[in-house]
């Protein structure tokens, strides 16, 4: 199976998110970006599939975040064969436009499976995996927790709730929105990332800046009132522990 993995950087979830001056979006100037965690699982699943049944893995990274190259080199070090950086000068895109960009980059490539994260923290207007599938006219499965290769098809495990899963036989090519890989995404040594930087396996491809417009406008963003309705316990850990034990004893 030949796989393509679509990668998107998202604002680093451990950083404090600041709102811009007119309150209409995040202040993106100083944001640090990391690979969307579900995309990391998508990459892992694609590499596991290659290790189990052969084939290749190509990663496509969209967007101009400074961190993009590092993300792509890391993917190569983990086991991807080829990495392509798309649209160097593209700013923040809505999901419809992201789907258009990936679909045009996929045009002319051959693949059996396309993997991407089931969601990203900023997918305000829907999911990339399903939108890409619709544009390519191929099937999709979301909330995937495993894929196994067969002849002309793939068996995909989709998760419902409480750990209940269903297996589907899916015609290829198809797009899979990955929730979790069969195993946690691997770590990779810095030395291997350095090797990947020398490998020449990263290329850049220009794409037209798609701007479909999502049909929706974000008019205001805010940090929700934290601790709204919650009693915030003051004091150091000893005092807080005492108070928490008191609360638990009263409640249970």
């Amino acid at each position: 199976m030949d796989s393509v993995v679509l990668l998107r950087p998202v604002p680093d979830p451990v950083e404090e998110l600041e709102i811009n001056d007119d309150g209409s979006d995040l202040d993106r100037d100083y944001l640090g970006y990391v690979l969307n965690e579900f995309d990391d699982h998508a990459l892992e699943e694609a590499i596991l599939l290659k290790e189990a049944s052969g084939g290749s893995v190509t990663v496509l990274g969209l967007g101009s975040a400074d961190e993009m190259e590092q993300i792509l080199y890391t993917a190569l070090a983990k086991g991807a064969d080829e990495a392509v950086k798309l649209g160097d000068d593209i700013g923040h895109l809505d999901v419809r436009s992201q789907a258009a960009a990936f679909a045009s980059a996929l045009d002319g490539r051959s693949y059996d499976l396309i993997f991407t994260g089931v969601q990203a923290a900023d997918e305000l207007d829907g999911q990339l995996s399903v939108r890409v599938a619709a544009r390519l006219g191929i099937p999709h499965v979301s909330v995937v927790v495993g894929a196994r290769a067969g002849a002309g098809s793939v068996t995909v495990t989709k998760e419902f709730w409480g750990g209940v899963t269903a297996d589907y036989e899916v015609q290829t090519p198809a797009v899979l929105g990955v929730q979790a890989a069969k195993q946690a995404p691997r770590y990779v040594a810095v030395s291997l990332i350095r090797q990947a930087q020398q490998s020449g396996a990263l290329s850049e491809e220009d794409i037209e800046t798609p701007d479909e417009g999502p049909g929706i406008r974000l008019v205001a963003v805010r940090v929700p009132e934290s601790g709204e309705g919650a009693e915030m316990i003051q004091g150091d850990e000893t005092e807080a522990a005492e108070r928490i034990i008191e609360i638990i004893k009263g409640a249970s």
Binding site: L124, P139, F160, G163, I216, M232, I248
Partner: protein, 315 residues
């Protein structure tokens, strides 16, 4: 037409709570614009279930053996056909909805808003949604007079969606073509040692626990409280605790007397599985963590500082 369409979800023969929540939400919206609430029900042998959707004015049913099980492409096709020209479409933001909502948006060209917690029709169509794992709340306005909303669980009361409509059932032809995703079978997780849905006290670890080695200390705390250990999804994905300990959208829904979180951020997918717990106490180093928005008590600080104090204090 200013009708409001709800894509109904059912699991193992039962209409899910979130479907009733959406029907309740739909009623409020339909009343405002003078339209009907239309429920779409897709399945095989679902006649009985249609009778339980009296919260809707009209229940469109596609009853076809091909839909005995959820089909990512098939259900999207069926719901698209059913929604017709309803101006507002509500889809549950669940595993099913994640395959359906974006596909409906692509096939109709109607804008879609995900992660919605409320929809408003005051002066145009708008919604409030949660972004960046609940760290940011946003208000959205729609260009145009139609929209699809993928709505988070817990956005309305399920009770409000169980009655109050005309409840007329109408059967539709099955629109199904060639399904490219063929259902093979369901599997349930192996039963665990502990049933977290039956515990009075849950100590719940999140990514803040940092490593598998630290799980033992949290277990010790759970033991000292006479409770059980549960976790957020990343802990399960790492293989540090079994799947049966996961709370949330793709895990279990729990309502213990005490829910004590250690290093859980409070992403919407986690919150929907625990928000009805009687007393929620949360510990997190980040004062902005969304978990403090649902907790009854919070302490901003390091779990590794407070865990030993809690264990000592309980001895």
């Amino acid at each position: 037409m200013s009708d409001v369409f709800v894509a109904v979800e059912h699991l193992q023969g039962e209409v899910t709570d979130i479907s009733f929540e959406l029907l309740a939400m739909a009623r409020g919206l339909a009343d405002q614009v003078g339209g009907d609430v239309i429920a779409g029900l897709v399945g095989s042998g679902v006649g009985d279930m249609a009778g339980r959707l009296g919260g809707a004015d009209k229940i469109l049913v596609v009853d076809d053996p091909a839909f005995e099980n959820f089909s990512p492409d098939g259900h999207a096709m069926a719901f698209s056909a059913m929604a017709g020209d309803a101006s507002i479409v509500l889809v549950p933001y669940t595993s099913m909805g994640m395959d359906v909502a974006s596909a409906m948006s692509e096939s109709s060209g109607t804008p879609l808003v995900s992660f919605c917690s409320s929809v408003s029709l005051d002066g145009g169509i708008g919604a409030t949604c949660q972004l960046y794992a609940g760290k940011i709340e946003g208000d959205v306005e729609i260009d145009g007079d139609k929209a699809i909303f993928a709505v988070l669980a817990g956005s309305a009361s399920a009770e409000g969606g169980k009655s109050g409509g005309a409840g007329v059932v109408e059967t539709m032809d099955s629109p199904v073509g060639d399904l490219r995703t063929r259902f093979l079978g369901l599997s349930e997780p192996e039963g665990g040692d502990v049933d977290i849905t039956a515990e009075d006290v849950l100590v719940v670890v999140g990514r803040g626990i940092e490593s598998q080695d630290n799980i033992a200390e949290a277990q010790e705390l759970a033991d000292a409280l006479g409770g059980a250990l549960a976790a957020s999804r990343p802990i399960i994905d790492q293989g540090w605790l079994p799947k049966t300990r996961q709370v949330g959208k793709s895990g279990l829904t729990v309502k213990p007397k005490v829910y004590l979180t250690l290093g859980v951020s409070g992403a919407p997918e986690h919150v929907e599985g625990m928000k009805d717990s009687a007393t929620i106490i949360s510990i997190n180093t980040d004062p902005q963590a969304p978990i403090f928005g649902v907790a009854h008590y919070g302490w901003v600080g390091d779990i590794f500082d407070i865990m030993p104090e809690l264990i000592d204090g309980l001895e």
